[in-house]
C-alpha cells in the first residue's frame, strides 16, 4: 500500500463498508478478515479497529479522535494512517464514503 490512494477522504465523510464487503473474525484463518467479491483480505489488528468504526454513522474526524484516544497515539499520525488505509480501500471499491 505504498501507492498514494486516488480517493481523497474529507474529514466529514462517513465511511462504511458497502453491501458485499464484510469484516469477520475467523479463528481457522487466523484473525480478522475482510470478505469482498472474489477476494479475501487479512486485516491486522489496527486495520480491524479502524474498519470496525466504519459504520456509516461516524465521521472520519470522529473515528480518528476515537482511535487517538483508544491507542493514546498522536492524532496526526493516526489521521495519516486512517486516510491512507481507507483511501486505498475506496480505490478497490471496498469502502463507501
Amino acid at each position: 500500500m505504498s501507492e498514494q490512494p486516488a480517493t481523497v477522504i474529507s474529514s466529514d465523510a462517513q465511511p462504511r463498508l458497502p453491501r458485499g464487503v464484510r469484516l469477520v473474525q475467523n479463528e481457522a484463518q487466523g484473525g480478522w478478515l475482510l470478505l469482498a467479491p472474489e477476494r479475501v483480505f487479512k486485516a491486522d489488528a489496527i486495520s480491524a479497529e479502524i474498519l470496525k468504526r466504519c459504520t456509516g454513522e461516524v465521521t472520519l474526524d470522529a473515528i480518528v479522535d476515537d482511535l487517538a484516544k483508544a491507542f493514546a497515539a498522536p492524532r496526526e499520525r493516526i489521521h495519516a494512517d486512517v486516510v491512507k488505509l481507507l483511501g486505498s480501500l475506496a480505490d478497490k471499491k471496498l469502502l463507501e464514503l
Binding site: P5, A6, T7, P18, R19, G20, V21, R22, V24, N26, A28, Q29, L33, L35, P37, E38, V40, A90, D91, K92, K93
Partner: protein, 360 residues
C-alpha cells in the same frame, strides 16, 4: 523431515449446484460428461455441506454451475450459505434468472453477483453463447443487480472472437454499474479444450490485450477494479494450480463429488469421495484425491529443485496430464518443461471451424 504444522484451512468452496444451463458457450469449463438433474444434491445436503465448510474454515462459497438459477431452491440455498456464516457469490449467466428470483436472493442474504458477458457486440455475444437474445437479458439483469444494491462483477471470457473488444467490454461493465471486471482468457479444459483450435488467440493478440488491460486499469483506477486471468499457453511460468492442490479451495460437483479443482476428474486414477458418504472435513483431510498432489513430495524435476516450487506448485496438474500425459510432470506451459514445445505447437494449431457448443 520432522515438522508438525496444521494443514491450512481452505478459503473457498466452489458449489456446482447443477450442470444444467440454457447457454452453450464453447469454452465452458464443465466436463464433457455432465451430471444429470436426477443426480443433483438436494437442498438439505447443500445446507449440511455449507455448515461443514464453514467449520473447516471456508469463508466464501461460489454458487456456480451450469446455471445456478436452473435450481428452484436457489434462494433456500443462498439462505443456508448465509446461515452457515459464508460469504455467498452467485456466478450466473443471468439467463433464466428473473428479477423476482434475484430480489428473493438478495433478501436471503446474497453477498455478490457475477454475471458473464460474451462480447460487447450483441450479435457476436449471442452467437458465442449459442442463445438468441442472451446479451440483452444479461444487460437488463445486471442493471437490476445494481438497483438492488448488490455488488456486481462482470466476467468476460476472452478468446479469438472477442479479444479485440476488451475496451468496449469494460465500458459496458462500467455502463451497467459493475464495481469489478474479471477478464479471463480461456483456460483449456472441458468444452474449451474441445474447441481449442477455434478459441485460441494469436500471441500478437494476447500481447495487445495484456497492454490494453494495463492501460484500462490506469484509466479507470478508483472507478472499477479490473482483475485479469493470464492466457497461460503464452506464459513463461504456469499458473499456480488453484493456489496449490488441496490447499486453498475445494469444489463440489452437482452430484456431490468433492474435487480439488473443477477439472480434476480428467486425471485418471484419482478417487473422489462424495459428500453423500463423508463429511467435508474428512474428505479435505483424508481423501486420496486431495492428498495426491498436496505439498511438494510428489514432484519430479524440473519442479522438485525449482526455486518457484512453493510459488506455482508445478502449475496445473490437469494440464500436465492433458498435454504431457503425466499428472506428475511440470505443467508444460512452463518454459522449463521438457514438453514446452508441445504447448507452442498447440497454440499455433488455430483453425476457423464452427464451435462445438456445450450441450446437456
Amino acid at each position: 523431515m520432522l515438522a508438525v504444522e496444521p494443514l491450512p484451512a481452505p478459503l473457498g468452496l466452489l458449489a456446482e449446484l447443477t450442470h444444467r444451463c440454457p447457454l452453450g458457450c464453447p469454452y465452458c469449463s464443465n466436463p464433457l460428461n455432465l451430471d444429470k438433474r436426477d443426480d443433483e444434491l438436494d437442498t438439505a445436503t447443500w445446507s449440511r455441506v455449507f455448515r461443514e465448510a464453514a467449520a473447516l474454515g471456508v469463508l466464501q462459497v461460489h454458487l456456480s454451475g451450469g446455471e445456478p438459477a436452473a435450481r428452484r431452491d436457489l434462494s433456500e440455498i443462498v439462505r443456508a450459505a448465509r446461515e452457515a456464516g459464508l460469504y455467498s457469490n452467485l456466478i450466473t449467466s443471468a439467463v433464466g434468472l428473473t428479477p423476482q428470483t434475484l430480489a428473493a436472493l438478495a433478501d436471503a442474504g446474497l453477498d455478490h453477483v457475477q454475471i458473464s458477458i460474451q462480447d460487447s457486440d450483441e450479435a457476436s455475444a449471442d452467437h458465442i453463447a449459442g442463445y438468441d437474445g442472451a446479451s440483452s437479458r444479461k444487460r437488463a439483469l445486471a442493471a437490476e443487480v445494481v438497483r438492488l444494491g448488490l455488488p456486481l462483477t462482470i466476467n468476460m471470457v476472452v478468446h479469438r472472437a472477442n479479444i479485440g473488444r476488451i475496451e468496449p467490454m469494460v465500458e459496458l461493465a462500467l455502463s451497467v454499474g459493475a464495481s469489478r471486471v474479471e477478464i479471463a482468457h480461456v483456460q483449456y479444459y472441458g468444452w474449451a479444450l474441445k474447441n481449442r483450435a477455434t478459441l485460441m488467440p494469436t500471441r500478437e493478440q494476447v500481447d495487445i490485450a495484456v497492454r490494453q488491460v494495463e492501460m484500462l486499469r490506469a484509466k479507470h483506477h478508483g472507478r472499477i477494479v479490473i482483475d485479469a486471468v493470464a492466457p497461460d499457453y503464452y506464459a513463461r511460468f504456469p499458473k499456480p494450480c488453484i493456489g496449490g492442490w488441496g490447499r486453498r479451495s475445494l469444489n463440489v460437483t452437482p452430484a456431490g463429488k468433492v474435487l480439488p479443482c473443477h477439472a480434476a476428474e480428467v486425471i485418471p486414477g484419482l478417487k473422489f469421495w462424495t459428500v453423500r458418504e463423508h463429511s467435508l472435513s474428512h474428505i479435505w483431510l483424508s481423501s486420496p484425491a486431495f492428498s495426491a498432489f498436496r505439498g511438494t513430495d510428489w514432484m519430479q524435476e524440473p519442479c522438485k529443485s525449482c526455486a518457484r516450487r512453493d510459488q506455482d506448485f508445478g502449475g496445473c496438474r490437469c494440464q500436465a496430464f492433458l498435454i504431457a500425459g503425466d499428472a506428475r510432470a511440470a505443467d508444460p506451459v512452463c518454459h522449463l518443461s521438457p514438453h514446452h514445445a508441445m504447448v507452442e505447437q498447440l497454440a499455433a494449431a488455430r483453425e476457423d471451424i464452427a464451435y462445438s457448443y456445450r450441450h446437456s
